[in-house]
């Protein structure tokens, strides 16, 4: 076996990891400690007996205990979708549910409660350890949420490390969503209108993983039987990342991962790209992340992304034939950016120094022939 040991040793020593993400590990470690303290607090409040709550809109039949180990699907207990009704303040009209007081959704997580509500164009998501109110804000914003565009929904997730709340804008043709967690629990989410936009929201323990969310399509009060499903990318310590919506007959992108590294000044950066049923998503070592909303690229696109306090990291998809990009900056300089293979597509990443912006880009094949170009 010494030969096998030597082979393994040689092969694994050839693995060259990127720089140690020390500060990110410390941040996540602090979140773990916070969760432990919160769990101790919750169990002290709840006492020895925790009663699962099965009411509310939408509600999680979840107690304060740690989630059970995931079971294979065939052994998972079946849960019908939670029957939902509008939260207090909603009315059922010809265009579906309408909120009269800004409350989009509310529910329970074990003995605690949560709510997502608008006040004017500002929204907040709050959680409370008990049902008597007095909650703390998980997050929010003003100016509404981005329109879902051609997709059934566009989601934003807020988390305190213990609880995650997600608020989404829903398309006009969505009748309802069914959200499925990997432990088999399901929530039925009916969009609620507020100031002309439709929204859904849910909350759950950060320890729970979302398996999928399926949009039932037709109209606010009409289910045509057509569906679209989003399967998020779930990475430890990060909220679920939603990319593409899969429709019947649409090929599921293969799973693949690739890492792109570089330096910007004295700082190194690492971008990890993931292809899978979620489409294409990226994370970077500066706590940035994002997903493409288009299926694996047949054309090249640069969805610029800015990371606060750091040189701007830009990452995107490229067509399979692309070998590299020539990026022209507004100061006249050019960069050659190699495209890396990821499953059945190409991806790329590069960093811009403070003050630099992209003026134009050209995607080239291996022979240097320009394939496509664009500007920002």
């Amino acid at each position: 076996m010494s030969e096998l040991r030597e082979d393994l040793d040689r092969a694994l020593r050839a693995v060259a990891p990127g720089a140690a993400p020390v500060e990110e590990a410390i941040r996540r470690g602090k979140a773990i400690r916070f969760r432990r303290r919160a769990a101790v607090f919750a169990s002290a409040v709840a006492g020895a007996v925790v009663v699962a709550v099965a009411v509310g809109y939408p509600a999680l039949t979840r107690d304060a205990a740690p989630p059970p180990a995931p079971q294979p699907a065939q052994h998972a207990p079946h849960h019908d979708p939670v029957v939902t009704d509008g939260p207090a303040g909603t009315e059922r009209g010809a265009q579906g549910m309408v909120s009269s007081d800004g409350v989009i959704a509310e529910g329970h997580i074990g003995a605690g409660s949560w709510q997502a509500a608008f006040s004017g164009r500002c929204f907040t998501t709050t959680v409370s350890p008990g049902t008597s109110g007095g909650g703390s804000a998980l997050g929010g914003g003003c100016g509404g949420l981005p329109s879902p565009g051609a997709d059934p929904a566009d989601f934003q997730t807020f988390s305190d490390g213990t609880t995650e709340a997600t608020l989404g804008s829903a398309a006009a043709d969505v009748t309802y969503f069914v959200l499925t967690f990997t432990d088999g629990q399901q929530l039925k989410l009916i969009p609620v209108s507020w100031q002309g936009m439709r929204y859904v929201a849910w909350a759950g323990p950060a320890s729970m993983t979302i398996a999928s969310i399926t949009a039932h399509l037709g109209g606010p009060t009409f289910d045509s039987g057509q569906q679209a499903t989003a399967i998020p990318l779930s990475l430890p310590g990060k909220p679920p990342m939603f990319g593409i919506w899969l429709r019947a007959g649409q090929p599921v992108p293969p799973r693949a991962t690739t890492i792109i590294t570089g330096t910007a000044g004295a700082q190194s950066w690492v971008v990890t790209a993931y292809e899978g049923p979620w489409g294409t998503c990226w994370t970077d070592n500066r706590d940035g992340s994002g997903c493409a909303t288009a299926a694996p690229a047949t054309t090249t696109a640069i969805p610029a992304r800015s990371v606060p306090g750091y040189a701007k990291l830009v990452y995107g998809q490229a067509a399979p034939a692309v070998s590299y990009l020539v990026v022209t900056l507004t100061d006249g300089r050019t960069m050659h950016v190699p495209a890396a293979a990821l499953g059945d597509e190409k991806v790329f990443a590069f960093a811009l120094a403070s003050g630099q912006t992209v003026k134009r880009w050209t995607a080239c094949d291996t022979t240097g022939k320009p394939l496509t170009s664009g500007g920002l």
């Binding site: 096998l4 990891p17 140690a20 590990a25 410390i26 773990i32 990997t182 398996a211 991962t257 792109i260």
Partner: protein, 174 residues
């Protein structure tokens, strides 16, 4: 946590990061997941850094978490895929993309061969034959019996022999 233990943790993580990523890579066969698993392990070590320091062997602590995290993640991924309702996906030998940056997978026949093994067999091979753990230690790390370790090792070696990685070696599962 005060600055001093924080600095100590930083030094420890910088020093041990490559080794833990390599271990995770051996267990997962996927560089992206390996770095995620290693980072999660160090985060958990930081969360209990006072206790970890007092125990006197932070390396063993983090290594154990890497192994456990990999086990947990494998279960989680498998369930997520089972519940997705999607048809089986066209997958390669593993999740690493063919374009992974200078991937060791492109350089090593032994790593290629590991990919044909199931997660548990791969873990047994890495723990037994790379980390040189005993059967009992491997069983404890993988939360299974020593009998399972023996049988998994035996099957793994048989598979590896077919790939010529351990061709001619008359070793058994010990």
């Amino acid at each position: 946590m005060t600055a001093e233990p924080d600095d100590e943790f930083r030094e420890f993580m910088r020093g041990r990061w490559p080794a833990m990523v390599r271990l995770a890579y051996g267990l997962t066969g996927d560089m992206g997941y390996a770095e995620d698993v290693a980072q999660a392990a160090f985060a958990r070590a930081y969360a209990s850094w006072g206790r970890v320091r007092r125990a006197g062997d932070p390396d063993a602590y983090v290594r154990r978490i890497v192994i456990n995290e990999n086990r947990r993640r494998f279960r989680k991924r498998r369930v997520a895929e089972d519940l997705s309702g999607e048809p089986p996906e066209p997958r390669g030998p593993d999740a690493t993309g063919p374009g992974s940056a200078p991937g060791p997978e492109e350089r090593s026949a032994v790593l290629d061969a590991l990919r044909v093994l199931g997660p548990r067999q791969r873990a047994v091979v890495v723990l037994r034959y790379w980390l040189d753990m005993s059967e009992a230690e491997t069983a404890a790390a993988l939360n299974c019996s020593t009998g399972t370790v023996k049988s998994q090792a035996s099957r793994a070696l048989a598979t590896l022999r077919k790939t010529a990685i351990v061709e001619g070696v008359e070793g058994d599962a010990r």
